[in-house]
Amino acid sequence: MNTIKHDVVVIGGGPAGLAAAISARKNGCKDVLLIERDKRLGGILNQCIHDGFGLHTFKEALTGPEYAQRFIDEFSELGIESMLNTIVLSADGKRNLYASSRKNLTRIEAGSVILSMGCRERTAGAISLPGTRPAGIYTAGAAQNFINLQNIMVGKKVVILGSGDIGLIMARRMTLEGAKVEGVFEILPYPSGLARNIQQCLNDYDIPLSLSTSVIEIHGKERVTGVTVAQIDANYRPVSGTERLVPCDSILLSVGLIPENELTRGAGINMEGRTSGAAVDDTFMTSVPGIFSCGNVLHVHDLVDHVSSEASQVGEYAVRYLEGEIKSPDAYIKIEPRQGVRYVLPQKISGIRDFTLSLRVTEPMRDRAVWVRDGERKVARKKMARLHPAEMIRIKIKKEKLNDAKVLEVAVE
């Protein structure tokens, strides 16, 4: 088998991988390799032809491919090496990777590894939807691929289950292509997509959004003929008497994203249940020294801008690791989510450098503050008028604020 060696190896050429590779190069590493299984760089952005990308990074509203292109251009200008049409099949805890392409199977020995494989969509099976499994059931992202990249229509009369952002975007897209979107049904009492997408994709097109409502059965033998929807109570049980049949020929699912961590688990890396990603420290290093993680494979982001900035930091840390500057400290400071906080990231920090805390709240709230505390002592506080699980909250924390804390607790109060 063909064996090669590289200093920094980035797995995945979406926005996270691109930004990480660029940053690694700019931070002085001359031997960066990016591996991408698709035939082009850009990842999922390639099929996101709507605009709204890059408001933070470039102060412009770009489409997905445009946003990706800016990074791809920089990547090429820097002369970074990439292997396209190549899939990493497995990784081990010693930073050996096995990759497969039409040319050959390759073993890659990496100095440091950046995991940036992105995420996948939750499916009808994953949420165990009752009823039949006829043709016409798609995840929103797969439907987006068919429509935007292959020019194929997946349905004419559509029900959208779940109010994740891709579902909202697809509600608008299907409408623009002449389909009738019968409604978006969300099991939670609040939407899971961004407020701006509710406005621009549903309200502007008179597409009804039903909250605390879900599809409780799929009908149809060969092709979907309809769904039964019902109101859902606080225990996630259908409220009897509220069932109604919605005739449709297709169902698009936007019921959540799952970080794609099979390689991560295979390498024996410790996982974090709340994010379904790797557990990482303030350098985004996982439990295996020299393996880092960023982007949606680490935790699902709502804005690509945050992915890019997170990945840029990781690119730098991966290089610092090679230079011997990043070592596991004797003791980490733990960061733990409390009241009102679904997850925090990183889960532990060294305390020797500034870092950005990323977190999501458990439910929509108004006029609260996110507190970061070391026992009784305030470490940081961020006041917010509107807090929503759909919107990731980031708080910068200076190392001087840490004193000799052992545990930081993060809560909404």
């Binding site: 050959n104 797969a142 033998k221």
Partner: protein, 486 residues
């Protein structure tokens, strides 16, 4: 194709195909007629995939005899057909003294049926085989195995076809005329096929087919079993199959965990009579029950481990009021000579299938002289299992020979483009997305085709000229798409 046959087999499930493959050894003309667009779309792809040992059936019944014989025949058959099979064994577990008695009578019954190697184990011996297993005693049956049920069915069909059997897929039999010498069978696709012997292996519809020749005393009552499929992450949680000792009043073998040869675990099956022979819907209530059982049986199971649910229908001969089991009916009746009926082939029909093949061969031989043909090839080409199960060096060799092996199309199951192309160009000519799925395992993983279906659609379009309306999930009417984007 010929249209004039010695033997016509109705139904391309594991039973029909086992018979076809057995008959393909002889110098006769045989064909299989199937209503769906692929083989193995009925009960044969919707079951637990267990090769039973034969302890559960009364000595002297067809089920007992065919089970033990089928189990024994499976080893050579699977070697020849390159089908994965694993004799992992089974523990039937007793919780109390009454259960222990049950184990002893099962052991006795099994031995009377000729099941080899049965042993009653104490707690320590049980722990050695399956650490952590509960219960006070267990009956160990080492010849219990697991197999991919559609893998076997497809392999039987392909081998039968390679040996000269014709396949009429998408041909629902809707009329059979008997003319004294034989039968003329008419199908929904307009075929008119005649044969001196007809084998009714139509599974859930065997009563319906029998009625076409005036036999009205068979009745099939579909009884649904629902399952959940678990993520391969949990592969290795079970070394053997573990079933509770059967108790009075219990139907079927109870909800349990079953390993599959491909590394997933199944939870199920449930047991409810339904009205339609194609009602494969899954229900909220059973899904909840299965999940609860799953969490009890498998600590460490998380909600994200459920990747899909499905159901199968048992072709029961007893109505809901009576429940229970009736023995298989495999007979050629004096009132309609030359018409062989296989009715009520529920569990362990998969296990029995090779033995059923031999039994029906003997029945055919009473009507038509069977002379072996020297050209018969018992082996199927290809490799056992899948690319992703090979060692890296073997994979590297294959990639060097054929670059299509280097291109992974389905990331979850790591299915290569070569395997997808082979599935698309399957010898039986099945053209559906389901046909690709059941042959290659693409779309069977945790993302359920979210990633690879768009790629497979692209391959079909680019290399095989598919138009949007050509993509069928399974049967007529199961169009994937509604047309082009305007």
């Amino acid at each position: 194709m010929k249209k004039q046959y010695d033997v016509l087999i109705i139904g391309a499930g594991v039973v029909g195909n086992a018979i076809a493959r057995e008959l393909s050894r002889y110098k006769i003309n045989a064909a299989v007629v199937e209503k769906d667009l692929d083989v193995s779309t009925g009960t044969s792809s919707r079951n637990s995939g267990v090769i039973h040992s034969g302890i559960h059936y009364k000595p002297g019944t067809l089920r007992a005899r065919l089970n033990v014989r089928g189990n024994a025949l499976m080893t050579d058959l699977c070697r020849d057909l390159k089908v994965k099979i694993q004799y992992i064994g089974k523990l039937t577990v007793a919780q109390d003294d009454i259960d222990v008695e049950t184990l002893h009578s099962l052991k006795q019954q099994g031995e009377a049926n000729g099941v080899p190697g049965l042993e009653i184990l104490d707690k320590d011996q049980m722990q050695k085989i399956q650490p952590g297993v509960g219960g006070i005693r267990a009956l160990h049956s080492p010849t219990t195995g697991i197999i991919c049920p559609y893998g076997l069915t497809i392999a039987l069909a392909e081998n039968a076809q390679a040996n000269g059997v014709d396949f009429y897929l998408g041909n629902e039999v809707n009329n059979i005329v008997s003319n004294g010498q034989g039968f003329t069978v008419k199908t929904s696709a307009g075929e008119s096929l005649s044969a001196s012997v007809v084998v009714n292996a139509a599974g859930l519809y065997s009563d319906h087919i029998a009625r076409m020749v005036g036999i009205s005393d068979y009745s099939i009552y579909p009884c649904r079993g629902e399952y959940l499929i678990l993520d391969k992450r949990l592969e290795g949680s079970l070394n053997v199959l573990v079933y509770p000792a059967p108790r009075k009043g219990g139907a079927g073998l109870g909800i349990h965990l079953t390993n599959t040869v491909d590394g997933n675990i199944l939870i199920g099956p449930s047991n409810e009579y339904v009205n339609e022979a194609d009602d494969y819907a899954c229900t909220a209530q059973i899904i909840d029950t299965l999940k609860k059982e799953g969490h009890e049986l498998l600590p460490g199971l998380s909600t994200s481990d459920f990747i899909r649910n499905f159901s199968g229908l048992r072709p029961k001969q007893t109505p809901p009021e009576i429940k229970g089991f009736k023995d298989f009916v495999i007979e050629s009746r004096d009132d309609v000579p030359g018409f062989i009926n296989l009715v009520g082939i529920e569990s362990p029909g998969l296990t029995c299938s090779p033995a059923i093949g031999l039994m029906v061969r003997d029945m055919v031989a009473e009507k038509i002289p069977l002379e072996e043909k020297p050209s018969f090839i018992s082996e199927r080409p290809g490799i056992v299992g899948f690319f992703n199960e090979l060692r890296p060096e073997e994979q590297a060799d294959l990639v060097a020979k054929d670059p299509d092996y280097g291109e992974i199309v389905c990331r979850c199951e790591q299915v290569t483009k070569k395997e997808v192309l082979d599935a698309i160009q399957n010898p039986l000519g099945a053209k559906t997305i389901g046909a690709i799925k059941y042959r290659s395992r693409a779309m069977m993983g945790r993302c359920q085709g979210g990633f690879c279906l768009p790629r497979i659609v692209q391959i079909l379009q680019k290399d095989f000229g598919y138009r949007p309306e050509d993509y069928l999930l399974s049967n007529a009417g199961s169009q994937l798409f509604t047309g082009r984007v305007r």
